[in-house]
Subunit: 365 residues, 2 copies
């Protein structure tokens, strides 16, 4: 780690520790899950050790959230567990959590219009699109707290006090579409940040997603819009990785958003050089797009030791990615996404933020 | 039971016993499941005890199957377990079975075209729309055997030798759409029978579904067609029952099929009288439709003791339903669907077939 002190504020919400759905269900098998509260704690500890100031997320109303997500989704996330418990759904002992079991796919509906089921266990599959992303006690509070963290980071940057702010969001968010949650994500913190930056007067905003997985939710939210560019480097879904159905190179936007979406899917085993080429090409896109503010979906699960992806990125690679994005010279909000290898998580985030601070250090110190 | 001997042939496939996915996953909880091989055995025993002749299903090629289902679905069902095992997917010891975990719902895709994932665990959710309907060793053989049973029953009726034939299909089929399986069903035996009857020269065919649950698959397959009428009495999905998303009264068909679909959703606790009114109204529809052949989706899970539905139908009710449908005077293929209360299953099927034989007994003996 460079011999310096980080100055990027870490926006923290205590609520992030409340989300604990006690595991996941993966291909029918209950497993422990890797998106756990300890992730946030080790990242915070590493950032503090690197000297970064920690600031508490401030409550924000739902204005921006409602501009990004369907109200049906937020209502579902905030009320479904109570309905689940009221209706006596299981429920292994001590495991009150909402898990869908039937899903209104195209194959199921065959063109019929989607009608929202009355029963809570039927309705679950309308919003939740996988069996990994369980709603338990504290899930809503944590997800909403992560949104507040993202919005607070936007405030810090928009005020001009900071060139970079980092929202330590947990749970992560980039898999959440307008009205669907999955991939251990519940509310799309990065999309909220981008939308908030739009509201702060930035006519064009870019989201660069360096998480190991494609941010299908963020892509979807802005897919028809030209004002928010979305670019992602990620392991190729066609190599067999989540989100499986979305994240291909030829997905470039629709309607007015054509050209404002760029996916760089990478082969399993991709290491720093090729990954950084991808990041560089996205940075070039941001320049072309004319964005005046940047959101970084900062997943560090592309790292060499991460259990959830086959990419092979080093700390140096993450730092270099941060430097490339810093070179854009834009007010930047970094939002935590994935990253699951507890021993290296903190160092990877510190490395990336160190890179993102390059410009600030160069010009400001 | 009336003092008589059943003459309706029972078409049997030994393969029906091979399907044993060792449970289901319901709202995230692995459970034992009720769609078990013993169901077929107790029904067969009861039919034999009632004097019904048992005949073995004969192999049929895929012509009719391909007219009903997408080839992607049949390929998936016949090959996915091998892919699953090859790729090392989990699983609990001794439980090799395919279970989806991510589903391309509208909320997930947000209007993106559906692209078939390369990875077997990703692709699973393209075809399987719930977590209850697992593909294990023997699943394909059993499902394909059930199709042969349905087609053999059609042959027996089409030959003129029998007014009624009964295919003891297991697994059941009415939840299978053109390209989606679920609800413990894999191939739509009733739809195959109806399509086969069309091929035997019946210009108009009707499917009457008296299973406790809506046959969303059969509805979907014929939804845009006027040549096959689909009618169903079932517990109201809006009361919180599978298939949750489909089976409402206002679903009446699309395009050329408008008017050839009739759902009679019933309140929880509905007993014989109201249920039989529903069956009578569907019989009237069949007359109006001008069908010259009938398929009965014979689920007996509407029975009073069945664990899978809240309807309260008695043996007498099922016999009366059989009589109402017999009064149509049409060549009739009955296809087994649900029914999960082992002690009463056999008697319920015997009662229904007894009713269906009414006309034959009256005129033929």
């Amino acid at each position: 780690m460079p011999n310096m002190t980080l100055r990027t504020p870490v926006v923290w919400s205590d609520a992030c520790l409340l989300h604990d759905p006690k595991g996941e269900v993966w291909v029918g098998v209950p497993i422990e899950g890797t998106e756990i509260a300890a992730r946030a704690e080790v990242i915070r500890a590493a950032m503090e050790a690197a000297g970064a100031p920690v600031t508490t997320a401030t409550p924000h109303d739902d204005t921006v959230l409602d501009a990004v997500h369907d109200r049906g989704l937020t209502r579902w996330l905030s009320t479904s567990l109570a309905d689940w418990e009221r209706d006596g759904f299981p429920t292994n002992p001590g495991q009150d959590r909402v898990v869908p079991y039937v899903f209104p796919t195209q194959a199921m509906l065959g063109g019929m219009p989607l009608r929202s089921p009355v029963a809570v266990h039927g309705r679950a599959g309308q919003y939740g699109y996988d069996t990994m992303t369980l709603v338990g006690p504290g899930t809503w509070q944590a997800a909403r707290g992560a949104v507040d963290a993202a919005l607070t980071a936007v405030d810090l940057v928009a005020s001009g006090d900071h060139a970079v702010a980092y929202a330590l969001c947990r749970p992560p968010g980039h898999h959440v579409t307008v009205d669907g949650y999955g991939g251990s994500c519940y509310l799309n913190n990065a999309a909220v940040a981008a939308q908030a930056l739009r509201g702060k007067g930035h006519e064009r905003v870019a989201v660069i997603d360096i998480d190991a997985h494609h941010g299908n939710g963020t892509q979807m939210i802005f897919y028809g819009r030209s004002d928010v560019f979305y670019g992602s480097v990620h392991v190729d879904p066609a190599a067999g990785w989540f989100p499986h159905y979305v994240g291909h190179a030829d997905e470039t936007g629709r309607d007015g958003g054509v050209g404002a979406n760029h996916n760089v899917p990478l082969a399993e085993g991709t290491a720093d050089d090729r990954w950084l080429e991808g990041v560089a090409s996205l940075a070039e896109d941001v320049r072309r797009h004319g964005a005046t503010a940047l959101v970084v979906s900062l997943g560090v699960d592309a790292a060499i030791n991460d259990p959830e992806s086959p990419l092979q990125i080093t700390d140096d690679g993450y730092r270099a990615a941060g430097e490339q994005l810093a070179a854009l010279g834009l007010p930047t909000v970094a939002v935590q996404e994935g990253g699951y290898h507890l021993p290296s998580l903190g160092g990877l985030v510190v490395a990336t933020i160190t890179g993102l601070e390059t410009r600030e250090r160069r010009h400001g110190q």
